[in-house]
């Protein structure tokens, strides 16, 4: 890889030829002000899978946000069951009236899947926000100040990473109790080491650049250097990492809820719905299929978008 710069156009591989050729084509057309994000957007737009993922995410967010306006009116309540009609309404097969069928308590499964999206998306985004924030601070401290800070923080990260992850989250929830707030706090707190590592190495690679020295020579404060000079240069890798992390957090939430450690019933979490449906696997498989498909498509959408962003922003990731 070290020789890439030495390789000339002639020995380039197919993909490199493409990139080179397109870069040259752009040069010729004298493109207007080229920015990182403008270029990335251009490349992202060409990636059909990533766009598909983005559209699905936006769709899910819209549905989740507007759910109160139309879901209860058409599909009924996601949490409350009507004891008078429960017997007739229990575990109905999918039909026009109940597209995903109904659960044991006669609640509409589609309705619960929609409300489940709220929880999943909220946990995914908030947990990622927490771990990103902690990770950024930790990574910045470790990389920028180095020395003892670096040793302590990275050792701490090692300790966190040495735990079997699922066990750690469960133990954490056992301590702070279950419930949606605790779920995203637990996932968020335990997720910081990987982001800290990413940010740390991003800073380390940027830190050596001349413009950082220049800024320091001009008397800029440490915070200012990190915020104005280093952060913008690492923001691409953080965005990619966070996008992928959301998918991971959603998966963790569903696993916790499935184990009964996460969201507390009757709140509709996809994990709980799968757990409920497991009993009826042989007879009413849609009870576990529908929420599972919801998790799959949502996480897949975040992965595809993350992959697309990674390629578009040209972020090198260590793990696949």
């Amino acid at each position: 890889m070290a020789t890439e710069s030495k390789k000339d156009m002639e020995t380039m591989t197919e993909s490199q030829v493409k990139v080179e050729a397109s870069a040259q084509a752009e040069d010729l057309s004298a493109a207007p002000a080229r920015t990182l994000w403008g270029d990335a957007w251009k490349r992202l737009r060409k990636n059909k899978l990533a766009i598909f993922g983005a559209i699905w995410i936006i769709f899910m967010i819209l549905v989740a946000l507007t759910a109160d306006l139309w879901v209860p009116q058409t599909l009924g309540s996601p949490t409350e069951a009507d004891s008078t009609t429960m017997a007739q309404m229990s575990r109905l097969a999918p039909s026009a009236e109940h597209p995903f069928g109904t659960d044991t308590l006669g609640r509409d499964v589609l309705c619960r899947v929609i409300y489940g999206a709220r929880i999943s998306l909220a946990v995914g985004v908030l947990a990622t926000a927490i771990s990103t924030l902690i990770g950024l601070v930790m990574g910045a401290l470790a990389a920028y100040y180095g020395g003892i800070w670096d040793t302590i923080i990275m050792r701490l990260a090692d300790i966190f990473l040495a735990f079997p992850y699922t066990l750690f989250v469960i133990a954490m929830l056992a301590v702070i109790g279950s419930g949606i707030q605790n779920v995203f706090v637990a996932i968020g707190i335990l997720g910081w080491p990987s982001i800290a590592r990413v940010f740390r190495s991003a800073i380390l690679s940027v830190k050596e650049n001349d413009y950082v020295d220049a800024a320091r020579a001009m008397g800029a404060s440490d915070f200012r250097i990190i915020a104005r000079h280093i952060f913008p240069n690492s923001v691409a890798s953080i965005v990619v990492y966070a996008t992928m992390n959301i998918g991971g957090a959603i998966l963790t939430e569903s696993a916790l809820s499935y184990l009964g450690m996460g969201v507390v019933p009757p709140d509709p979490s996809w994990g709980i719905m799968i757990q409920d449906g497991q009993t009826y696997l042989a007879t009413q498989p849609w009870l576990m299929l529908m929420p599972g498909l919801a998790i799959l498509t949502t996480v897949l959408a975040f992965t595809l978008l993350g992959d697309g962003l990674r390629d578009a922003l040209d972020v090198k990731m260590k793990d696949a």
Partner: protein, 345 residues
């Protein structure tokens, strides 16, 4: 090499102490008194309760293990740091502690009972992962942009985005219910203990679905790493050199590309094996598998902290040993590292 191993072990000590300390702190914060939980509905008579507390070092004891009382005749709670010292010194004597529940069995005995299931399942899963993952990754890279490549990319993306426990249920649904006539429904219900007197199949058949579930996500990652590594290696200058020498594409892939591409993949598989040995809570829950992961999970929910501590201690050590082995084997696979660390010119 010996120096390197020693250095790694020394580096591991603070990590190990950190992990156990955090768990110890958690135990102290967690609500609920273990002895009361142990008794459940029954009321313990005060004398038994004191003896129990003394035996778990929850209260201060004298050298003979007899509880110590303060002036007003109450027992004295042992401070956390002291109990931690007890725990670590116990560990040094090979004592993992005693379970609160499970009728006071030593944690070591419980783990000894559970580990064989976890180890066997992990071995099945890792074999599956290595064979399918490396194979799919190779096909995908060699036949880049072909139907197979797209299929592998698609399947791995889906596997990675799927909750593992849900995948396990899908397997049960498919093999137990859709293929009921072929399998006699034997795969439907969660499998407990595998085999047993009424088993319809040989023991190993019951490992298939749990192993597939456990291996699913890692197999997908393994295939992706293999693909990207092989593609990267095939782009290297030395591959062109080999081709210029007159080697066929096939020979180049098998003799020059594969060994280089496999180095990081083997590392990944090794580390993943360590992770599997940590027990797979979700897989074990779905299949009702009596392994370490499920036992630890049960212990957490029932506040049986000695088991949690003991099993996490063992897990962390096992993972560390496996990672160390992976590092050492890495040095043997890659001559650059072998000579870099050992023989100096």
């Amino acid at each position: 090499m010996g120096k390197y191993i020693l250095k790694r072990i020394l580096q591991f000590i603070p990590v190990f102490l950190g992990v156990t300390l955090i768990l110890f702190a958690m135990e102290n914060i967690v609500p609920g008194d273990p002895i009361k939980l142990m008794a459940g509905e029954k009321k313990l008579d005060p004398q038994t309760e004191v003896t129990l507390r003394a035996s778990y070092h929850l209260i201060e004891t004298d050298d003979n293990g007899q509880p110590v009382y303060d002036e007003s005749g109450n027992t004295i709670e042992t401070p956390m740091w002291k109990r931690y010292v007890f725990y670590v010194s116990g560990l040094l004597h090979g004592d993992l502690g005693t379970s609160y529940q499970r009728s006071g069995q030593p944690v070591a005995d419980i783990l000894a009972q559970k580990y064989p299931y976890t180890i066997r399942l992990s071995i099945c899963a890792i074999l599956l992962e290595a064979i399918v993952g490396i194979g799919a990754g190779m096909v995908s890279a060699i036949k880049r942009y072909s139907f197979w490549d797209i299929l592998v990319t698609l399947v791995t993306s889906i596997l990675v985005a799927m909750p593992a426990f849900w995948f396990g249920m899908l397997l049960q649904l498919f093999f137990g219910i859709v293929l009921k006539d072929v399998t006699g429904g034997g795969f439907y219900l969660p499998i407990s203990g595998a085999g047993g007197p009424n088993a319809e199949f040989n023991d190993w058949v019951y490992y298939i679905l749990p192993a597939m579930t456990l291996a699913a996500v890692s197999t997908a990652y393994c295939a992706r790493i293999m693909r990207s590594q092989l593609l990267e290696v095939l782009n290297q200058d030395y591959i062109r050199t080999a081709r210029a020498k007159g080697l066929s594409r096939r020979d180049v892939i098998w003799h020059h590309a594969l060994k280089n591409a496999l180095i990081p993949v083997v590392t990944y598989i090794g580390i993943d094996f360590g992770a599997m040995m940590a027990g797979a809570i979700l897989t074990e829950t779905v299949f009702n598998w009596p392994g370490v992961g499920y036992e630890t999970y049960r212990a957490i929910t029932q506040r049986d902290w000695p088991i949690v501590l003991g099993s996490v201690t063992v897990i962390v050590v096992v993972v560390m040993v496996i990672n160390l082995l992976v590092d050492v084997s890495y040095a043997f696979l890659d001559p650059r590292i072998r000579y870099g660390a050992g023989k100096n010119e």
